[in-house]
Every structure is written in C-alpha cells, then in structure tokens.
C-alpha cells in the first residue's frame, strides 16, 4: 500500500515535470514564430540600399535628419524629411506630433515601412534625448532609476494608432 502510494506519487511528479516542460516548450513555440514575425530590424539608409527589407515589413530606420530637408504638408500634421547616414539618404513621411528633440542635424529613429517608391512611411519617431552622449550616471539618472521610466530617456511620438 505504502509502496503503491509512493509509486503513484512518483508518477504524478513525472506528469507534473512533463507538464512544466510542455508549458515552457509551448511558450517557446508560441514565442519564436511571433518573434520572426513581429521583431523589427534596424536599418541605416546605407543598409536599405545594400540589403533591402522584405516589402511591407515593419522596420526601424536610424540616421541623422538632413539639414534643410524638413518640410511640412498643408494639413499641418504631415512631415517630410530626409534621413542620412553620411553616405546614403532616405526620404521619410510621417503624420503626427513631432518628438521634442526632433531637429535638423540630430539623430532620429523612425519605425515604419518602406514603400515601393523607396520612400519610408513612419508610424513612430524617436529622437535622441540630447545632443550629448551622457556618461552612464547621467543617462541612468534620467528616468532609469529603477523602473518603467526607462523610456523617459528618449523622446518618442506616434502617429494615430489606426
């Protein structure tokens, strides 16, 4: 009797261990295709030219806002500018509020999709917080003090979510 209880307790443990493994493997199976699908790759204008992304893929484009390239369309909301990395340039169109630190000559990271004409339609803009690279202490103190505010160290704005 006692031996039987022990054995079935052991079986139950095996089942539990199997379930735990199944849960983690299941999570992995759920996660990895989603990662393939939903992760956004980072490109500089030169990368776009050398190795263009799949059409319609959501990517991040980083570079400097070219001086004198920023113009606004008549609706007062749509912005067109050029992102450069010193070698190549990409034209970007974005409708929405502009982050505080978006300026000509400054770094910017735009999230969006590359159109068939080579223009980039941005859904979200991220501007660097400052023209200075901060020492780690300063950067950390800017909202990284331990929590959710990490993103406070940069400025981001998005287009309408629809």
């Amino acid at each position: 009797m006692a031996a039987e209880v022990r054995r079935s307790a052991r079986n139950q443990r095996l089942v539990l261990a199997g379930l735990a493994l199944a849960a983690v493997v299941g999570a992995g199976l759920l996660a990895i295709p989603a990662l393939e699908d939903k992760a956004t790759f980072f490109y500089a204008p030169s990368d776009l030219a050398a190795n263009p992304p799949a059409p319609g893929a959501r990517i991040r484009l980083g570079g400097l806002v070219k001086d004198g390239s920023v113009s606004r369309e008549n609706d007062g909301l749509t912005l067109v500018f050029t992102v450069t990395d010193g070698a190549r340039e990409t034209r970007v169109r974005y409708t929405g509020l502009v982050p505080d630190l978006f300026r000509e000559g400054q770094g910017v990271v735009a999230t969006g999709r590359l159109g068939p004409d080579g223009g980039f339609a941005a859904e979200e803009l991220l501007a660097k917080h400052d023209e200075t690279y901060m020492p780690p202490e300063v950067a950390k103190s800017l909202g990284r003090a331990g929590g959710a505010g990490a993103a406070g160290a940069m400025h981001r704005t998005g287009s309408l979510s629809e």
Partner: protein, 174 residues
C-alpha cells in the same frame, strides 16, 4: 545525485556566459557613421578669434594620424573627457577640435577651465561638418590617418581605460 538535477545549473551557466559575452559591447540603436573607411568629407570651418580654423585640407597631409574631436561647452561629458584628451595629446597624437553649435566666448571659457589640447579648432555653428562626418552627437572623436581616411569613430566620451586602445589604433594607422 541524478545528472538531471544539474540541468538548472547548466542553464544558468549558459545564460551567465551569454550575458558576460555581451557586456563588452552593449547593443543599442546608435547610429554608426557610414564614413568610416572613407576620405574625410570636404569642409572648411572658421577659427576661434585669431587662431587658425580647421578644413578638410588640414587633415591627411602625409603626417601621422590625427584625432578630430567634436565637442561643445554646453556638453557635460565633454568635461568628463578633457583629461583623457590631454593624455592623448601628451602621448604625441595631434588633436583638432570642432566646436558644435557654440559661441566663441563660451568656448574660450570652456578651454580655460578644462584645458586646451587642440592644435586647431573649427567652429561648426550650424552642425554642417558634424553631418558630413556622420556624427550624431558630442562628444565624438574620429581618427583620421595620414592619407585623410577616417579610420575610427568613437561615440561618447573617451573614458580613462579607453585611452590605451585609442593609442593602439592610432599607431596601427601610422
């Protein structure tokens, strides 16, 4: 002890090694200049008062490698980096400065307070030179070899432990 009990330990060891391997080069969306490996872009900047300015023709005149340091008086990390620039200058590497979006008075005050390691200083009032270099902030330092080709881009302030590495790189491109 069944070997399966060591699995969590092995998983931890793998994670630890992986994180340690990544510590040296934190990943982020910093924007690397596409100009590394290319000749210095053409530019000509006025100098500070009667000091000579800096132009692309001053770089790569056949002498050894030089450093071009983008800085600004309003930039905190530039102060942090001042002793390291001095150490590099003392080690015999010529350093030219490009002051970004700054006024001559502020630059003079900055140099008086934090030291002046620069041979030449160019005033980049509208940031055009910075864009031409593909620089996206200050401080930022470029190593230009004797033929006028950009060999290295160092973003952020130069920390004391990095001085030796920059010296090594400079010797490599002699």
């Amino acid at each position: 002890m069944s070997p399966a009990r060591l699995l969590p330990l092995l998983a931890l060891a793998a994670l630890g090694l992986f994180l340690a391997a990544n510590l040296g080069r934190p990943q982020q969306a910093t924007i690397r200049s596409a100009m590394v490996g290319k000749p210095v872009p053409a530019f000509a900047l006025p100098g500070l008062g009667d000091r000579p300015g800096l132009a692309s023709t001053d770089l790569g005149g056949g002498e050894g490698p030089v450093l071009v340091n983008f800085f600004a008086s309003w930039c905190l990390p530039c102060r942090v980096e001042a002793p390291q620039l001095k150490a590099l200058a003392d080690a015999g590497i010529p350093i030219h400065g490009i002051a970004l979006r700054d006024s001559p008075e502020d630059i003079r005050a900055f140099l008086a307070r934090h030291g002046d390691p620069f041979r030449r200083i160019g005033l980049d009032r509208d940031g055009q030179a910075a864009i031409a270099f593909g620089s996206s902030g200050v401080p930022e330092t470029f190593l230009v070899d004797g033929r006028g080709v950009i060999r290295l881009q160092h973003q952020g302030e130069i920390r004391p432990e990095q001085v030796a590495e920059i010296l090594r790189e400079a010797r490599r491109w002699r």
